[in-house]
């Protein structure tokens, strides 16, 4: 499966982002036949609910289907390529919001979508989380989608692998402070779950108030691709980038079969689910109401979000 990863960089004028990303997809599809192109989380620009970004409400969010999907559906058809539009702040018909990734097939049809299940930061107040962790059966085989922070709750990738995904697509945003640990954890996750991983992240920066204090959030690219055997590609930290990788899919499924020459299968094959009731328990150290705290913090900074 030949995959292109488009690492975007937010433009100063967010209304330009969509056309800029469109051109990047056009470019990566030139001269090579790809099966799939992956875009990062928030490829349309910062979400309006991020610190200091309230003015972007109605600019970097969109209806699905809507003008953004229409644009990229035509591009998927033109290049006969699957495109992961991952992810967008989806404005729901009832006025709510979701952090949503959409998978288009070569005909431009929507063949899968995933809503972020584990909300991050202000999303716990603003966004409606997804309630399912499901695989998508498509021409490329069985795929999973984990939206950004879903990766950091390892149950997500675990369930997708157990449901038969050979590859999990992760539109995310790399935080600068965690890069080394993130890259290593990414590689480890591919090995421990015997799964291919594709990670697309933007580069961008924003400033704003959080909890009454001025903060700066930096997304540091570092898009990645890995197989259970190790990292295949790593993007730049400080600018746009394009990565093209060949991901073995049958190999992953073969590695999951018990055999003597390789022990990658053990991570899934030696499981004893009957002993894992503990994963259904909450973390014992969880003694605060983070939703309430976040709501208070947002009320101090972005009044429109706190309604």
């Amino acid at each position: 499966m030949k995959v292109g990863i488009v690492q975007t960089q937010w433009r100063a004028d967010p209304t330009e982002n969509v056309f800029y990303v469109y051109d990047q997809v056009e470019e990566i599809c030139q001269g090579t036949t790809l099966d799939l192109v992956c875009l990062p989380e928030f490829f349309l620009g910062p979400a309006w609910y991020m610190p200091g970004q309230a003015g972007l409400k109605g600019v970097t969010d969109t209806r699905i289907p809507g003008p953004v999907t229409t644009l990229f559906r035509a591009l998927a058809r033109k290049h006969r390529v699957h495109i992961l539009l991952g992810s967008m702040v989806e404005e729901l018909p009832d006025g709510g919001y979701c952090n949503t990734a959409v998978l288009l097939d070569r005909s431009g049809d929507i063949v899968g979508r995933a809503h972020k299940v584990h909300a991050f930061a202000n999303e716990v107040v603003v966004c409606r989380p997804g309630d399912t962790v499901d695989v998508i059966d498509c021409e490329l085989g069985r795929l999973g989608i984990a939206v950004c922070s879903d990766f950091w709750v390892p149950e997500t990738i675990r369930m997708l692998a157990l449901k038969g995904a050979h590859t999990v697509l992760i539109p995310g945003g790399s935080l600068k402070q965690n890069l080394d640990a993130m890259v290593n954890a990414f590689r480890a996750t591919a090995f421990l779950n015997c799964v291919n991983l594709v990670y697309a992240s933007p580069v961008g920066e924003l400033t704003g108030l959080r909890g009454g204090r001025q903060i700066r959030v930096a997304f540091a690219g570092t898009s990645l691709a890995a197989t259970p055997a190790g990292l295949l590609a790593r993007g730049a930290e400080d600018g746009p980038d394009s990565l093209v990788v060949d991901l073995p899919t049958l190999d992953v499924l073969t590695l999951r079969q018990r055999h003597a020459e390789d022990d990658t299968w053990q991570g899934l094959g030696l499981r004893r689910p009957e002993a894992y009731g503990g994963v259904l328990e909450a973390f014992v150290g969880q003694g605060r109401d983070l939703v309430a705290e976040t709501r208070t913090s947002m009320a101090q900074t972005t009044p429109t979000a706190a309604r």
Binding site: M159, F191, Q257, P273, G285
Partner: protein, 261 residues
Amino acid sequence: MRVQVLQNQWLPDATATLESVERELRQAITRGTDFVVLPQHVLGDPARTPPDPERARRALEALTHLAREREVYLATGSWLEHHEGRVVDVARVLDRAGRVCATVRRPFEGGAPVTGTDFPLLDTDKGRVGLLLGHDFWVMEPSRIQSLRGAHLVLVSGALGTRNRESKKAAIWGMATLHCVAVAFASAVGGGSTLALPQRLVAQADEAPGVLTAEWADDTMAVQREADLSFKNTLWFGLWARRPELYAPLATAPARSTEAA
């Protein structure tokens, strides 16, 4: 808190190996050490070191004496013993007074698990700690469950083995990061003994025998695990943001067709 892991070498016979382990530990365990971890199959290749009650008694006695003398929590590593008519691989943790405070038994030749010994936790004077043996570490759920139940450090009597060594070395730190837990992994076969915190790899051995030592502030893990809504630290997120109501498939035996896919 100071943690040490022993990476030892098998000598031609188990008695010589035990003597060498004891000698090495006497030299290496420094005053103020809190936890010492020994590898799986610490006394030798299990294929050539069958259960021997007298040898097991001597090994446990020597390590008990050492734990008491140096006032450390000591994960003994493992060796084979007979238990309820089966051969099992047994790992224990001794407390600072040399008392057994946690035990794991795993059937050596497969078969049904030994009941009552899954993923033990022990409350120490340095907080809650988990003990894992061998393959249990390479399956994500056991260390996940221990972390969720409050272990801030997982002691692993493990073996890196000879296959996928680089991936496994990455996975030790990776699990520390993903579960937001400190890991002390001791290995004889294949080397790769490791001390890891969620945010960094503290120490990792190659193949040579020796003792790794690392020290971190007692509250390091408590700080890492506390929700930080400024998001300067984010590694707590994977414990706090969970939605256990969605994870039933992880605790349910899968349909064969799905697992095999």
